[in-house]
């Protein structure tokens, strides 16, 4: 693999890792979500310094090119992430629903009540 390619890939992987760690440190990203990202960062970093690993994986899964291996795992990772988000959003939506309903129940206005000052 070309040295320039290696430098680019390694830089990407390491900066991704640094950004993730910084986000978690500032509590802008919860560890709950960070693990997948950290895994992605480490994978990019490891593969960029160890090209033979990528070649080995490519052979292992029977892909023709190393680039298709990268794309395959890249897309699969994004899919998995989207799925995780969908699951989370479904749960959040249910929680928001229950909260809104509870609020409505607590603030029920009966006829004769004072109209609320809006």
């Amino acid at each position: 693999m070309d040295v320039r390619q290696k430098i680019l890939a390694a830089t990407c992987g390491i900066s991704l890792l640094l950004v993730i760690i910084e986000l978690v440190r500032r509590r802008k990203l919860r560890v709950e979500y960070a693990w997948l990202w950290i895994l992605a960062g480490i994978t990019i970093a490891v593969i960029s310094v160890n090209y033979q690993l990528l070649v080995w994986i490519t052979k292992l899964i029977g892909a023709g090119f190393t680039s298709s291996t990268l794309f395959f795992f890249g897309i699969f990772f994004v899919l998995a992430l989207c799925l995780q988000f969908s699951v989370k959003i479904s749960r959040l939506e249910n929680q928001v629903k229950n909260l809104a309903q509870q609020l409505a129940l607590r603030n029920a206005r009966k006829p004769g009540d004072e109209p609320p000052a809006e």
């Binding site: 629903k97 809104a100 309903q101 609020l103 409505a104 129940l105 603030n107 029920a108 206005r109 006829p111």
Partner: protein, 268 residues
């Protein structure tokens, strides 16, 4: 399909029986008719400020002592205020969450306030208040747990666009096949139910985006008795139908996914 049980779930039966005993124990033994028991009319409303007052007055003219609860689903107009003025209890959702969420808020309110029966109707005046006794009667006489007002049973209908009619026909077939009885109007929002159904509807498993045929199948699966009676419905005078634009397509898709999945679920 071999592992799907179409039998009535024994746990649900037990649950129902226990609950029924508890509910009956809480109420005086003197009531004989639904009109003496506590009935709540539930009207989920979204931007119905111009009509809600008339609808409430219409219901009151038929069923004077009814408690009415309007769930204002984050309307942009004065739906809540108009309903309050007309003498209904108003639950206000902080933002628009959809028909099913509004309905469920109403069910939860009814449970909390100890109502024995709930009659749910559309707030746009489509459902004729004159049909309330017809819908409530079978539930109050304990002939069923849920009673659905059908606009097709006795041909008391209005013209429906062909596209919708096809969708309705498909759903009717599916619902009839899966529940083993004829269901003529599974999308009807004119329903009466007892507390057992309310408890069931208040759970998180209630499909809040489009509650309908899938709910019927779920109810059937859990051993509830569902009955249909003919009612009078009027065509909408204005406003948006729930089923407009691309929604019917999503709706059919949702039913296609939800109904089989509900049969695969094992819920306590």
């Amino acid at each position: 399909m071999f592992f799907i049980s179409f039998h009535v779930c024994p746990t649900a039966r037990l649950f129902r029986a226990t609950l029924a005993r508890q509910v009956d124990a809480m109420l005086p033994a003197t009531y004989t008719h639904a009109m003496n028991a506590r009935v709540m009319i539930l009207l989920p409303a979204y931007n119905e400020g111009s009509r809600i007052g008339t609808v409430i007055a219409g219901i009151r003219s038929v069923f004077a002592e009814a408690d009415m609860t309007v769930v204002d689903d984050g309307s942009g107009d004065d739906t809540g205020l108009q309903a309050l003025k007309a003498g209904a209890t108003v639950l206000t959702l902080p933002f628009n969450l959809g028909y099913g969420v509004a309905l469920q808020a109403g069910y939860k309110h009814a449970l909390r306030e100890g109502y024995k029966y709930v009659v749910q109707m559309d707030a746009d005046g489509q459902h004729d208040p004159g049909s309330i006794p017809a819908v409530l009667g079978p539930v109050a006489e304990d002939r069923c747990d849920l009673c659905i007002g059908s606009r097709f049973l006795e041909g008391k209908s209005y013209p429906i666009p062909p596209g919708r009619r096809l969708g309705m026909a498909i759903l009717r077939r599916v619902a009839s096949r899966l529940t083993g009885r004829t269901v003529t109007d599974p999308t009807s929002g004119f329903q009466a139910m007892n507390r057992r159904v309310l408890e069931f509807y208040a759970r998180d498993s209630f499909p809040v985006d489009y509650p309908d045929v899938d709910v019927l199948v779920m109810l059937h699966h859990h051993g509830f008795r569902v009955l249909e009676v003919p009612v009078t419905m009027h065509p909408r005078t204005s406003g948006m139908s729930l089923h407009s634009g691309l929604k019917p397509v999503y709706y059919l898709f949702k039913m296609g996914v939800d109904i089989p999945l509900n049969l695969l679920r094992r819920e306590k």
